[in-house]
Amino acid sequence: MNFVTLDGRSGAYRLTVAILALLTLGGFAGFIISYLAGHQVFGASNAVPWGMPIVMAIYLIGLSAGLHILAFLIYVMHQDRYREVIRAAVFMAIVLIFGAMLFIALDLGRPEKFWRLFMLFYLNNMSSMFAINAIFYTAYFISATIYLVSLLNNMKRFSLVMGMVAFGWAMLTHGGTGAIFGFIAAREPWYSPLSPFEFIFAALTSSLALLIVALVIIYKSTGRLLRQELIVSLGGLVKALLLGMLLLMVIGELTHLYAPSRDAVVYTLTGPSSWLFWIFLVGLGAVVPLVILFHPRAKKSLSGLVIASVLIVIGIFVKRFYLVIPGAAYPLQYYPGKIEGVWGALGTYRFAPVEIALAVGMVAFLACLFILGLKYLELLPAKQPGEDAVTETPAIKQTTGELNSGAEGR
């Protein structure tokens, strides 16, 4: 199978890059403000210490899992039909993990000291889940990059090995991210041994859903023919993973609900922000997509699959948000009784403009990186003869003639 670069000289492409670059500048300005003025410009506080950047970081980590499940299917299950999307998926994963690390660095109070996170075993406390995850994230980034290089160079054997390494490592990474939250006994809404597994399932679900949306957008906007059967089979996978995630969530909540000390889970299920949980996560993020994915006609229609995927992507975002912000807002019970004043009150969080600008800007930066990658790397499958892309094919030949002839030569 041949892969080609995107032409990237159309007006729409340039406009997209320009808009994304502008948003990126806004995000950068937000970061400079937060660096100079301190985190008072963010919405977080000592009661809710982590805000939007950490929500985005764990969300992006999860979204990057798509490549790995594809690699698993190709090399272990021998599902060769997924080969045509693997390159784009790997590149997307690299961009997303990079974005997640960027968000973590930007959330640090002293971002110039981020290198301390990578002084493994030397200046680091290796019992910290953060330091352990620094190993996971770095190796994940490196293994995915090597994997992409091996794919770009058509190194069949090596890419098989790297694909398996990346898949195994992804499970550690997503589980480790879950452990950052699940291992903290002081925060009752988070404390759960199921947390790493829930993170793995949520990551796989959301990343496959994102992959469906991204593929449909890219294939449509570049005039490629998207094979129905490919997307439908991805939809079936999303369904299975979503069911697995729901099962873990139900088990986790039920375990905590069954014990008499159930205040934290009652807060999670019925607290003041629980509408987020019920409407966006359970309702729109799980029930509606499941209805679509089980519906005999809708599960085979492109629009049905895209709607279900978009809802899942939003639902998992709300799941992350609900964990990090309302989860941390649950007050600590220092002493039995009702703690008066701010010390016993539910933590507050407000959406701060600088924080939103930072989050939007970084996401725009990542999107910009991704579409620039499509232009400069051979990520997309070449168009089949007969596809209606007469306007673009010659341009591709011209700009990337050398690269194409190189690829065809093999």
């Binding site: 100079l36 003025a37 301190g38 985190h39 008072q40 977080a44 506080s45 000592n46 009661a47 210490p49 982590w50 973590i104 959330d107 640090l108 109070g109 002293r110 000291k113 981020f114 301390r116 996170l117 200046l123 680091n124 406390n125 019992s127 910290s128 889940m129 953060f130 330091a131 620094a134 950052i180 903290i184 006994a185 002081a186 925060r187 941390a328 600590l332 019970q333 220092y334 002493y335 039995p336 009784g337 009702k338 703690i339 008066e340 004043g341 701010v342 010390w343 016993g344 933590g347 507050t348």
Partner: protein
């Protein structure tokens, strides 16, 4: 080996909050504004919480002064990736601002909420205290005349006082105590060596029933409370 600890007699405590004020002055902790306090953004190294039980008129209120518990098995030490917070040999859990990267994981992990993040570049007036005695000047770099924003702070059991007293051969717990214990008008706070059976804290612990906060967390705090 010494193991510094604190005993707070809730029977004597009147809830006057002198301890919190003395801590702010001693350690140069910024005052903060009421709005920032409402949002939980002001640094507090020491706080006094009021816990009510029951409904008026059948109500009782417990006033609990809360410094850092200096846990023997401190969750904040476990989770700090940069070794910025660590337990000294004498049991004091300290925070090194130069190492701290500001990830706030320790604030998440602390079961007692004693850690504060420094959310802004403090203005000079926030902690300029001309009313303080001039001998503050010769305590070296601690307490910092200025602080950087973006790092986590917490109570240190006034280790600068303890270290100076140990160097000078003074008796810690009798002649020299942390600022909160010194300021307490009711003499409700005792400080001393928990491993020394002759120390004041050990004797007061032996004399009465005592408890620690959130013992079910298994953190072995070194701040003990004598109930009312």
């Amino acid at each position: 080996m010494v193991r510094w600890g604190m005993v707070i007699d809730l029977d004597k405590c009147t809830g006057c909050q002198s301890c919190s004020v003395a801590c702010k002055a001693e350690n140069n902790v910024p005052h903060g504004s009421p709005e920032e306090h409402q949002r939980r953004m002001t640094p507090f190294w020491h706080k006094v919480i009021a816990v009510s039980r029951g409904q008026y008129p059948a109500v009782s209120i417990d006033l609990i002064p809360m410094p850092c518990m200096h846990c023997d098995d401190a969750p904040c030490v476990t989770v700090c990736p940069a070794r910025a917070t660590y337990r000294r040999e004498d049991g004091i859990v300290v925070q090194d601002f130069r190492r701290c990267i500001g990830c706030k994981y320790c604030i998440i992990a602390c079961p007692y909420g004693v850690r504060s993040f420094n959310y802004k570049e403090q203005e000079e007036k926030e902690y300029h205290r001309p009313d303080l005695p001039p001998e503050r000047a010769d305590r070296g770099v601690w307490p910092f005349p200025r602080r950087v924003h973006g790092v986590v702070e917490k109570c240190t059991f006034c280790f600068h006082r303890i270290d100076a007293a140990v160097r000078q051969g003074k008796k810690v717990g009798e002649e020299v105590v942390p600022a909160c214990a010194e300021a307490c008008p009711a003499r409700a706070i005792f400080f001393g060596d928990l491993d020394d059976p002759e120390s004041g804290v050990s004797r007061s612990l032996a004399s009465r029933q005592s408890f620690r906060l959130r013992e079910e967390m298994g953190t072995s705090p070194k701040v003990f409370y004598l109930p009312r």
